[in-house]
């Protein structure tokens, strides 16, 4: 079989490693310029998907990110085989993305305000949530509770990872439980939904933010549009399951263009202060940190003891 090296697979006017066509307005965009513009089309404002490192670089103060639990890796608890064994799919995703799984978490600062941040990357197996993603979101939430700092989760996911079966489904329960405890303890949580946020991720932590933000035109929905259309055998309304649709129906607080996201988060974080910190700051007359450390009656709940159980 002759091998054809496709240096210029389509006529070659725009080498694909240098140019990208905007799927929305059809313009050819110079890749370097696109990256510089946070992968937003300068002509029509189409938001391309953002990789996790670019997202972190954009949102957080320079050099403030400290990744945690970077060593977590998926295993194959069901010995799942479809057309390709699950471990092979994982290995391929690792090679193409340079990531261990579809989410990273750590601590950092946004305009000087300390947060626990978890960011998903759609490039790793469609951002699907298996045990590792669920664990990272949960650890981020538990850490936010421990340290009493706001939690931010930036979602990009097709849903639960089928290859982990009901163990993937249980990540919905695990993450919802951790988020529910945050709410109980007065630690705020901002959910940022990017294209796409669907299925089990939308039906768990992504929907539960004290404030829900979304990027323009991001696909956000429970069931795939094909499933929805097939089930009801009728055409779907225009803009169905897009960020603006959710804003209109009351499930998203704001649709925020990527360029404004960092400032909007910083603005919100000024209001979203963990309840006790506010009280502590008043009581300790400006010395909020020591006031915090002195009074944390429920701290044991978020202690290392329970986290150990997750490793079993």
């Amino acid at each position: 079989m002759p091998i054809k090296l496709p240096f210029r697979p389509r006529g070659g006017e725009f080498p694909p490693d240098l140019w990208t066509r905007c799927p929305s307005c059809g313009d050819m965009l110079y890749n370097k310029q696109l990256e510089k513009n946070l992968r937003v089309c300068p002509k029509c404002g189409h938001h391309f998907r953002l990789r996790v490192d670019a997202r972190l670089a954009h949102l957080l103060d320079e050099g403030s990110f400290e990744e945690r639990d970077a060593d977590l890796e998926s295993v194959d608890p069901l010995a799942f085989v479809d057309q390709k064994p699950y471990p092979e799919r994982l290995a391929a995703a690792k090679v193409t993305t340079g990531l261990r799984d579809a989410a990273l978490w750590g601590t950092g600062r946004i305009a000087g305000q300390r947060v626990a941040l978890c960011v998903m990357d759609f490039a790793f197996m469609g951002g699907s949530m298996g045990s590792v993603v669920g664990e990272k979101v949960t650890r981020a939430a538990e850490h936010a509770l421990d340290e009493r700092i706001p939690l931010i989760v930036v979602s990009a996911s097709g849903g639960a990872r089928m290859q982990e079966g009901t163990l993937a489904l249980m990540q919905l329960a695990k993450t919802c439980a951790a988020i529910a405890r945050l709410a109980e303890e007065g630690v705020p949580y901002v959910s940022v939904m990017t294209d796409p946020t669907t299925g089990g991720v939308f039906a768990s932590y992504a929907a539960l933010g004290d404030v829900n933000l979304a990027e323009p035109n991001a696909l956000i929905g429970f069931a795939g549009a094909r499933v929805a259309a097939g089930t009801i055998a009728e055409s779907l309304p225009p803009g169905f399951q897009r960020a603006e649709f959710l804003l209109e129906h009351g499930f998203v607080d704001q649709v925020v263009p990527r360029h404004e996201l960092r400032d909007r988060l910083a603005l919100l974080l000024g209001y979203l202060r963990p309840a006790e910190e506010r009280v502590g700051a008043r009581a300790a007359a400006g010395d909020g940190v020591s006031g915090l450390g002195g009074f944390n009656p429920l701290g044991f709940l978020a202690g290392g003891g329970e986290r150990e159980t997750g490793r079993g």
Partner: protein, 334 residues
């Protein structure tokens, strides 16, 4: 793998037949559903209707009942026994208002200090536009979150189909009981097959791969107890099924009543906290290369070459950069 099937994705006939029989039983229209089971095993059943926000969802039933005199709040999906009722019940596929009715009842149970028993039997939450418009995902997430922190005991019974998030919305509790032929899965076997095998015909294979039978769910630690069904299945003898199920629920209610509520909540949190399987990577080697190596870049080139030569994959509609990320490398998503 020691137990690998002969060809990729081809489960053995035995395994397929076994798993698929469970799926067929779990979906049998003659199978007793939530209200039938309650009629057979409970007394003083009072159904309550409506979410106080939009409407009453007939796909979820909720209310009060007594099991051997003990009061419970029940919430469960309800399928119909024949076509007309099934259409009215939307084949047990709840809209968001169904889950919000459930949450209304959970809150009431907490205020009254009455334990909750949920009955899970749904192909999944309804995926249509009306359901999306009213926030079905939000209602599921909130229902799960609420159950994980509810300050009364929660006993979950999977009676038939445990279909994905729409099932889990009622299935986060202190203990999970399943009937012998119940199934529990992250997506329907047909849905899984059409995504991973590209054809719904591979549903039987998917059913095996997902380990969706009650017995396998026990092995995974997701179901705690399986109640055997009479004859060929619950549909053969609903009365006997209820007779076997009732003592299992009552025993769990009595056991859970012995705990302080904070103790119970910690145990409930720990139960879901421990679910999932992952490893900690070896710190050796360079796990995250900054740039793809030469071999990887060549492989990418060959891959594109294969596509331009008219391989089985459809050609991309636009030029693809080596680091193009806007198309998923695989189609894993649900």
């Amino acid at each position: 793998m020691a137990d690998a099937p002969t060809a990729p994705g081809a489960a053995t006939l035995d395994a397929r037949a076994h798993a698929w029989e469970r799926v067929r039983h779990a979906r049998d229209v003659k199978r007793p559903h939530t209200l039938e089971l309650l009629r057979l095993m409970a007394t003083d059943v009072v159904e309550l209707h409506g979410d106080r926000l939009f409407r009453d969802d007939p796909a979820i039933v909720a209310g009060f009942a007594r099991l051997d005199g003990r009061p419970i709040v029940f919430v469960g999906q309800q399928k119909g026994a024949e076509t007309e009722e099934n259409i009215r019940r939307n084949f047990g596929m709840p809209h968001p208002e169904g889950y919000r009715k459930g949450m209304r009842l959970f809150a009431l149970a907490e205020r009254l200090g009455i334990p909750v028993v949920t009955f899970v039997d749904t192909p999944g939450a309804f995926p249509g536009p009306a359901s999306e418009e009213r926030g079905v995902a939000e209602s599921i997430a909130r229902s799960i979150a609420m159950l994980t922190r509810l300050r009364v005991p929660v006993v979950v019974v999977i009676t038939g189909e445990g279909g994905s998030g729409g099932a889990l919305a009622l299935a986060a509790g202190d203990v999970v009981i399943a009937l012998e032929n119940a199934i529990y899965s992250v997506i329907s076997p047909e849905g899984c097959a059409s995504i991973l095998w590209r054809t719904a015909d591979a549903a039987q294979e998917a059913a095996v791969a997902m380990r969706l039978t009650a017995g396998e769910q026990v092995a995974l630690g997701i179901v705690d107890e399986v109640v055997p069904e009479p004859g060929a299945g619950a549909q053969d003898d609903p009365a006997e099924t209820a007779r076997r199920l009732k003592p299992a629920i009552v025993a769990q209610l009595d056991r859970l009543a012995g705990f302080e509520i904070d103790e119970l909540l910690d145990a409930r949190y720990a139960r879901y906290r421990a679910m999932g399987a992952f490893a900690t990577a070896q710190p050796t080697g360079a796990p995250r290369p900054e740039r793809p190596g030469i071999a990887e870049r060549l492989r990418t080139l060959f891959e594109i070459g294969r596509i331009t030569l008219g391989g089985p994959e459809p050609a991309p509609l636009r030029p693809q950069a080596a680091d193009e990320t806007d198309e998923p490398p695989l189609r894993e998503e649900i």
